[in-house]
Structures are given as C-alpha cells and as structure tokens.
C-alpha cells in the first residue's frame, strides 16, 4: 500500500512537470511571432514589450526560458508563491486575484459536487433497484432532460423564476462566507443547483448502470444464499462495488471544473476562475490564461491522485497491481 502511494505520488510530480512543459511549449514556442508581443496584450507599446521581454527572459534561449518559468512556479516570484507573474494589461499580479477567484470557484464546485452526489447516487441506486418501474422511468427521463438542458438556459430560467418572479433569492454575484454566511448561502444555492442538476443526472445514470451490473454478479447471489437481508445486500455488498467507480469520475470532473464552470459563473455573475479565463481570453491576457491553465492541470493531477489512493483503500485488488 505504502509503495503504491509513493509510486502514484512520484508519477503525479512527473505528470505535473510534463504538463508545465507542455503548457510552456503551447504558450511560448508553438505560436508564430514574437511571444513578447502576444503577452503584452491588446495595446502593446515598445516599452511594454521590452518590459515583457525582460520579465519573462525572452531574450534567453528557450530551455532557459522554461527553466525560469518552472523556477518561478516552484519557488515563487516577487508576488509570492507560486510565481505566476503579472498581467501586463491590468498591471496586477496574477496570484492574489487567482487565490480570490479560486475561492469562489472551489466554493461553487465543492457545494455543487456535494449536492449532485446527494441527488445522483440515491436516484441511481433506487432506479437500479426498481428497474423498469414508473419511478425508474421518471428518474431516467428527468436525468435525460437535465443532461441535455443547456446550463445557461437552466441558469437564466432559474434566475427568472426564483429571483425575478418569486423574489425568494437575492440575485447574482458572490458574497464571502466570512462577511455574511446567510447571504453567501442564498447567493450560492442557485448556482449550486444548476451545476449539480447536470452532474446529478450523469451520476444517476452511471450509478444505475454500475448497480445493475453488480446486481447480477455471482457474489451477490452468494450473499443471498447466505441468508443476508436484502437491506444488507444492497448497502454492504452492492453499493460497495457499485459506487467505487464514481470516485474516479468525481476526481476527473472536479479537476476539469476548476477552470470549466465558465457558463455558470457568467450567468450568476460569480467572479471565479472560469469567468476570469473568459475575460482574459477575450482581452488576450496571456499571463492569466497561462496561470489558470497550469492550475487546472495541477488540479486534475491532484484529484486523480486522491481518487487512485481512495480506490486502493476501497478495493484491495488494486493495491497489488
């Protein structure tokens, strides 16, 4: 087990380094033209371009540039750790805003994930247990609806209903938990719901499929032949194998969502990473785009590391491979 974790950990470090290399190549080496010009943004002046060149070491060789990029990332720069530089357009350091926006996004996806697990898993399990029943068909029909429904439409519709028409909720934007927990919750509940409904629908279908597979396994028949109660068979024998694959799914989804909740954040006016990425892309603000890309890559690697370790704890067969 310890060996397995160490091996996965070393692999993760290697993957993260490779990802930074790949990102570097994509941003600095591959595109045609002067990188300094691209990093300077929409309205470059000769002075700004010179500043960019010096700041990113663009007059040095490419391996040295990457070395500088990696060194700043690992050891930090004048704006702190990790060293992500500054936006040459807004003249702001990337890191403080990244931290602030990451809080918003992580609040959104963690809350959303808890909600979609709380909805998706029970719906999937019950649908599998009552396969073919009206309940199953209604759940899966609803799931199909939410899988196909565009997030922006769902978001705008919910805002219209709960904010504009019913007036139950205070509208868009983000209020930090520290300043007003109640307002924080009432501002987040709709984004959570909208994000969660899509994923809950996916998870319900996956869990239902897994559970149906597990229910026909020989060891479930054995459990029944032992005279266990149906309740115990479902809760202890079927759920264990039926839900374990969800961990991997969740890890990938969480990692990708770190930079991927663009639509939800835009609809609900949440100043998160996705929203930032969108603005940065529109303004050609490469340092910001680069920072978010690296962050997402690291997040995906870390989440899959956690998932693999959890999986090994839950499934003894994995540990010995």
């Amino acid at each position: 087990m310890g060996r397995y974790i160490i091996r996965r950990l070393l692999w993760t470090v290697l993957v993260v380094v490779l990802v930074t290399l790949l990102t570097f190549v994509i941003f600095f080496v591959m595109p045609k033209g002067d990188p300094a010009l691209r990093f300077a943004g929409k309205s470059p002046t000769p002075e700004l371009i010179q500043e960019v060149k010096e700041s990113l070491g663009l007059d040095k060789s490419v391996p040295e540039q990457y070395g500088l990029f990696l060194e700043r990332l690992v050891t930090g720069d004048e704006y702190g750790w990790p060293g992500l530089g500054k936006s040459f357009q807004t003249k702001q350091a990337v890191k403080p805003e990244l931290v602030q926006r990451a809080q918003v996004t992580i609040t959104l996806i963690i809350g959303g994930a808890l909600l979609w697990l709380a909805i998706g898993i029970p719906v999937g399990v019950i649908s599998a247990l009552r396969r073919g029943s009206a309940l199953d068909r209604i759940s899966m029909g609803t799931a199909l609806f939410f899988v196909s429904a565009p997030v922006f439409w769902l978001g705008l519709l919910s805002l219209y209903v709960f904010w504009k028409k019913l007036g139950w909720l205070p509208g868009t934007g983000y209020v930090s938990f520290g300043s007003d927990p109640g307002a924080w919750f009432s501002h987040m509940i709709l984004p959570w719901m909208v994000l969660a409904l899509l994923f809950a629908a996916i998870y319900a279908r996956v869990v239902r499929g897994n559970m149906i597979d597990v229910m026909t396994e020989d060891y479930i028949r054995t459990a029944r032949a032992k005279g266990l109660s149906e309740r115990r068979i479902v809760l202890k024998h079927e759920l264990r194998t039926g839900i374990t694959p969800v961990i991997t799914l969740l890890a990938i989804d969480l990692g990708v969502l770190v930079g991927g909740t663009i639509v939800t954040e835009t609809v609900f006016n949440l100043q998160g990473l996705g929203n930032w990425l969108l603005v940065a892309a529109q303004n050609n603000d490469l340092p910001v785009t680069l920072a978010v890309t690296v962050l997402v890559a690291i997040a995906v690697s870390l989440f899959s590391l956690i998932a693999d370790i959890l999986y090994a704890i839950l499934d003894p067969r994995v540990r010995y491979q």
């Binding site: 060996r3 160490i6 091996r7 070393l10 692999w11 290697l14």
Partner: protein
C-alpha cells in the same frame, strides 16, 4: 534445411513439426517510476517433442502447465525465448515476412471458445473465406467455402448467416471449416470441445477424427479433459509447470503411467462407471505459480512417490528438491522426467494420504517461497 537436424519422431520418420529445448518466459516487471524486470513466468521450460505426419499428439496438463503457450509457440503466434521449432524440415523459429506467410498457411488453430473467436459482424461465408482472401487464393471462393461447410457438417445454404444464428457446436464447426480453408498440414486444437455441452463434444471430436482421416491432417490436441485426449490421440504428452513430465503412446500412458504426476492426474479423473470403492490419489495443495516454480523437480512439493522413497511424509529425497530431472527414455518411445519413476507395487494412495495437512502447508510454502 537447417544444419541442426530435428529430433526424430517416435516411429523414426521425419517429423512434421519438432521443437527442441523450447523456452518461453514472460517477464514480470515492477518499479516505482520505470519498470524493470524482477522475474519471469516460466511458461515453457526446456521442452523437446515432435509430431509425425498424420499423427495426433495429445497435450494434457492443468492450468499454468504451459500447454496453451506451447500451442501458440508451435503456431508461431508467440516467439520463443530460446530453443528451436522445425516445421516440415525447415527452421521456423525466427521466420518472418513472406517465408512466415507460407508457414501460416500450413499451420492453423482451432480455438476453445467458439463464441469469442468468430467476428459477430461477419457472415459465415466471410469468416470461412477470410483465410482464402488474406492469402490471395485464386478460384471460386464461394464454392470452396460451401465445400468446406459441407465437409464440416454445416448446411452450405447458411452461407449468408451470422454466428449468432448458430448453436455452440455449429460455431465450433465454423471455426474448424475456417482452419481447413488453406489445406493446412498441422492443426493446433486448443481445448476445442471444452466450452461445449457434453452431447455436442462427441460430435466435434468425431468430426475432427473424420477430417484427419480424409485430409491426412496432423493434430496437436490440447485439452484438460483426459478422456477426450485418450480418445483422439496416438501419443500423449503430459506437462506440469512448463515442463514435459511424460510422453508415450496413449495406452501405455493411461494404463502404465510411470511419472507420479501422470498417475495422480489420471486417477483424479472421475471414471463415470459408477463403480464404488475405487480410490483415487488425491494430490495435496495447488499447482505452484509458474512465476515461482519450486527448485529441483517442479512436482516434488506434491509428489507422493518422493515420500515413498524417503519413507517420511515430510521429507523428499535431496535430488528431487535440488536437481531438475530431464525427460529421458526409460523404454523405447516412453519418456519420463523423474528421478524415481513408478514401479509396480508403489502405493501412491497411501503415500498421498500420509502427507498430513502440516506437510501440505510445508509443500505450499516451499512452492511459494
């Protein structure tokens, strides 16, 4: 012709296929970041045997004994780690390209699972005709395929049907027809009836023996079913943990086995005669892992005869535990790889029973240490 002459077959005629000192090891790798080899599965170890033209050589053994690997080596689906394979007098051990194409036409395989070995999206005609297409055989392919279907007991009118429309037995007939398409000389039958219902097995076995007579085919017939092997084979080879332990003509093997493992294996098979009071030799423990074969004779941790020699259920003769016995002729045409082959009067049943549970445990530890 290679400079090294292939091993002669049993009856002195030049063998159709001969393997000599064949070894196949699959590497086991492990490592934190980069994989390095830490061991090997000893699938086939130092195997020498030959098959005469028109002969059926039965190959029996339990899981992990290397019989399927041997089949794949002989059909050159795998490349041996060392040793040589001669086919029709030619060294094909490392043959490739066009020369190998020629050998491929002459050696065919019939697989165990007729459900998995047929492409469900191809019609029967396409499946059986595929070898003709691949090897660019000229002539009326449809006619040839229908001829093959007739020979294998399929209705030629079912040319355009798909595998799922056939029963298990019929699907195995399709597999056999496909193997026959290029007029091979050697057919490797890898557990061809194991997946079939009892009443169907006899149909397929009879078909294979009829086809052998009509087309003067040579079979390597691999099975864990000792009854089927006795029925179809001229000679039978027994393998254990990658090594040949005994090889002789079928009646001698079944009636007068000289290797303790062969004796135990045959005795373990239920006879189905309903005769009460027959006692079988029940070997203790499991077959050790081929990734970690015991030192010396691979069978020594479970061998009852070794206990007869030592006179103590917990002890085996030193030679058994340290030196690997080579297959040697003890009478003409009868090879046995054992330091102490069975003699009349050896009571293996009593010896097997004397191996008390504690010794079984020791045997297992010795095997897995």
């Amino acid at each position: 012709m290679s400079t090294e002459s292939p091993a002669p077959a049993a009856n002195g005629v030049e063998p159709l296929v001969a393997v000599r000192n064949l070894v196949k090891r699959f590497p086991i790798t492990r490592g934190i970041l980069f994989q390095r080899q830490i061991g090997a599965v000893h699938a086939v170890e130092d195997l020498s045997l030959s098959i005469a033209p028109g002969e059926t050589l039965g190959l029996v053994g339990e899981s992990g004994c290397g019989k399927s690997t041997t089949a794949r080596l002989m059909a050159r689906l795998l490349e041996p780690t060392s040793g040589s394979i001669h086919f029709e007098g030619e060294d094909i051990t490392h043959l490739a390209g066009r020369a190998m194409q020629h050998v491929r036409r002459r050696v065919q395989i019939v697989f165990q699972d007729p459900y998995a070995s047929l492409n469900p999206r191809q019609s029967v005609g396409q499946i059986i005709g595929a070898p003709l297409r691949i090897h660019h055989v000229e002539g009326d392919r449809r006619k040839r395929v229908q001829e093959l279907m007739e020979q294998t007991g399929l209705n030629p009118e079912h040319y355009n049907r798909y595998p799922h429309e056939f029963s298990g037995g019929q699907r195995q007939r399709i597999g056999i027809a496909r193997a026959l398409a290029l007029n091979p000389s050697l057919i490797v039958c890898d557990e061809p009836v194991s997946a079939l219902d009892v009443s169907i097995q006899a149909q397929i076995v009879s078909l294979l023996t009829d086809l052998q007579r009509e087309h003067s085919l040579t079979y390597l017939f691999i099975s864990h079913d000792l009854g089927v092997v006795r029925h179809v084979s001229d000679r039978v080879a027994v393998m254990y943990l990658g090594r040949l332990v005994e090889l002789t003509d079928r009646d001698t093997l079944y009636e007068n086995p000289r290797h303790p493992y062969t004796a135990a294996l045959i005795s373990a098979v239920p006879h189905g005669t309903g005769s009460s009071g027959r006692r079988r030799i029940v070997l203790q423990g499991d077959v050790p892992s081929p990734a970690n074969p015991p030192a010396g004779c691979p069978f020594h941790p479970r061998c009852p005869k070794a206990r007869i020699i030592s006179g103590d259920p917990a002890v085996v003769p030193e030679r058994c535990a340290t030196e690997v016995p080579q297959a040697a002729e003890i009478t003409p045409g009868h090879q046995v790889a054992c330091w102490y082959p069975l003699e009349p009067g050896d009571d293996l049943i009593a010896a097997a029973e004397a191996m008390a549970p504690e010794t079984v445990e020791q045997a297992e530890e010795a095997a897995t240490a």
